[in-house]
């Protein structure tokens, strides 16, 4: 059982707070979507969770071990991270080479050609449905294919926890759906704990069981998908500062679409008016 826990974490860039007092626990096999507006601190939270950023207050722990006490290799066998696929260096390798490189934490002196590593790569490519890309150069891929290859790399890392930063942003509907299936497969077949940052509420609900909503760097809602949907009419305008309407799909799932701006009183970073306690406009529900 792997448990990722953040206790009271805060982080600021140049003295400007970005996230504050966030408490969050992801247990083995849960799928969390972290939603919020641009600049709400979602990506920063994700980077703190995998140790890329060291939070200024509070602790992040993996199985009750403080993450700063783990070496990068020890962290890398627990948590895989998929960054945003845009505006980043394009690895000058084929997809297969790139995915194989993800075996680094399991190797000594970077020797990556053992049968075990190659099997892990085959499995990761199969699980993410990217076998057809294996021989292509990363630089020659479309945006959707590139994002898939990044996720395939993380899958080859075979970690119990997978963090994804905006995996569907900038993608067309077909690739969005492919990414969603990938996440669901990793979650269901491997029991991977998935934590995804997104501002697409429908994608969040379609691939995840739990929702963590941030406003201004603080937790606004934390709980199951169903309880989130129950209060969605109230929550969504506050979270996204936009008006939403809901529709019910033939399979009874709810679908939300934007219907104009909403006059939200909450703007900017870290409003003191939204503390995470009993006074929170919405009841925060602890996950089990």
């Amino acid at each position: 059982m792997t448990r990722l826990e953040a206790k009271n974490i805060s982080f600021s860039y140049n003295g400007k707070p970005v996230i504050a007092d966030i408490n969050f626990t992801a247990n083995q096999g849960e799928a969390w979507a972290i939603i919020g507006r641009n600049g709400a601190g979602k990506s920063t939270l994700l980077k703190c969770l995998c140790g890329l950023l060291r939070c200024h207050q509070g602790t992040v722990s993996v199985n009750n071990i403080h993450i700063v006490k783990l070496t990068p290799r020890e962290t890398a066998v627990q948590i895989a991270y998929v960054p945003q696929g845009t505006n980043r260096p394009v690895p000058p390798f084929t997809v297969r080479e790139y995915v194989l490189m993800a075996r680094y934490p399991y190797t000594k002196m970077g020797e990556m050609s053992s049968r075990k590593d190659n099997n892990a790569v085959d499995e990761a490519l199969a699980l993410t449905d990217t076998e057809h890309l294996a021989g292509r150069m990363m630089g020659a891929l479309s945006g959707g294919e590139f994002q898939s290859a990044l996720i395939a790399g993380a899958a080859a890392q075979e970690t119990p926890i997978l963090l994804l930063d905006e995996p569907t942003a900038h993608l067309d509907p077909r690739h969005q759906e492919e990414i969603r299936r990938m996440i669901v497969r990793l979650h269901e077949r491997r029991g991977t704990t998935v934590i995804t940052v997104t501002h697409d509420v429908n994608f969040a609900l379609a691939a995840h069981n739990n929702i963590l909503a941030l406003i201004g760097g603080r937790v606004f809602f934390r709980g199951t998908k169903d309880s989130f949907c129950g209060g969605a009419a109230d929550n969504l305008p506050k979270i996204f500062s936009a008006g939403f309407s809901e529709a019910v799909c033939p399979d009874k799932t709810k679908f939300f679409f934007v219907t104009g701006r909403s006059a939200s009183s909450i703007d900017g970073i870290l409003p003191a008016a939204v503390p995470e306690d009993e006074n929170t406009p919405l009841k925060t529900e602890e996950s089990l």
Binding site: K47, P72, A80, P89, Y104, L150
Partner: protein, 325 residues
């Protein structure tokens, strides 16, 4: 198409051939029979030609490797010890030693070497410190800091040249053009320890070098100690540059060019690219030096002039090719 290990073997064979053949070529071609017979020819061959070719090969190989490391770690096709100011720091340090007339050895190391190492270390630390301070440790920011540091050391050098005597000034200018005219094996043995240490440190971190190309965030979350590896790799390369510059002066553009020639042929994976660059760099500088000493014989052209003549247009080609992508 990638050549892989067969290609590296070909380069290795070419290296052996050039090391075996080029010492015979010079102002006058020496025949194999003359080495055993003629005392003067033997002296020229073993004390001048052979050490010179070996020095050129070692320096070329090491400079190409430095370029590869800087380009890989900083993910910038224009990074190399020269564009980052490390070479000009080393030059400045060594030149100051020559100018102040300091001679002799400090704890077994010739003072110019000492000066070059200090200069390389100082400029490396300056670049790291400032790029850290302006929070641009990756990408282009570090190059800009490097250029600033490079200009700073160049002007220190110019100033000290200006106030020095004509004779010293000429020596510095000649030395700054870069060259591998050595007598005997002393200079080679001076720089070998730095080169060997550097190569070992870099090979030990070769996997990290690959991971830098995927981006620092992915590299770190895959278990690479990014900050540590970056400083170690760049530090090892700077150490090598210090050693080479102290002997050969600044020979530019080898480190910039060779990795760019090797990448399309050998791919970007450093396990193959690293030996390929070492060998190709060695062959390249040995050939350039052979031209340098035969083109207008009996006079010699400083080899740094030849590499720069080839390198400057090459730089433009790199820029244009990058733009057209």
């Amino acid at each position: 198409m990638r050549l892989g290990w067969p290609g590296v073997s070909i380069l290795f064979a070419l290296s052996i051939i050039s090391l075996a053949v080029l010492p015979f070529i010079g102002m006058e071609t020496i025949g194999i029979t003359q080495i055993s017979g003629d005392d003067l020819q033997r002296e020229i061959f073993f004390s001048i030609r052979l050490p010179r070719v070996l020095t050129a090969f070692t320096a070329g190989a090491a400079l190409a490797l430095c370029g590869l490391v800087f380009q890989g770690v900083l993910r910038n096709p224009l990074a190399d010890p020269f564009t980052l100011g490390v070479a000009s720091g080393a030059s400045c340090g060594a030149a100051l030693m020559i100018l102040t007339g300091a001679a002799g050895v400090i704890s077994g190391i010739p003072v110019t070497v000492f000066g070059a190492l200090c200069g390389a270390a100082l400029s490396f630390l300056l670049v790291m410190a400032f790029s850290g301070a302006v929070r641009t440790v990756s990408s282009n920011g570090i190059l800009l800091v490097g250029i600033a540091v490079s200009f700073f050391f160049s002007s220190v050098l110019m100033f000290s040249q200006y106030i020095s005597s004509m004779r010293d000034s000429f020596r510095i200018v000649r030395w700054l053009m870069g060259g591998v005219e050595v007598f005997g094996y002393g200079p080679l043995f001076t720089m070998l320890p730095f080169v060997i240490t550097g190569v070992i440190l870099i090979i030990a971190n070769i996997a990290a070098l690959d991971h830098f190309l995927t981006g620092d965030d992915i590299a770190q979350t895959r278990g690479v100690r990014v900050r540590f590896s970056r400083i170690l790799l760049l530090g090892a390369a700077s150490l090598m540059v210090g050693g080479i510059v102290s002997v050969c002066g600044p020979i530019g553009f080898v480190g910039l060019m060779i990795p760019h020639f090797c990448r399309p042929v050998f791919g970007a994976g450093h396990k193959i690219l690293l030996p390929a660059c070492l060998l190709a760099g060695g062959i390249f500088l040995t050939l350039c030096d052979t031209f340098a000493r035969t083109l207008i014989a009996p006079a010699e052209i400083p080899v740094g002039v030849i590499t720069a003549l080839l390198g400057a247009p090459f730089l433009l080609w790199v820029l244009i090719r990058q733009e057209s992508r």
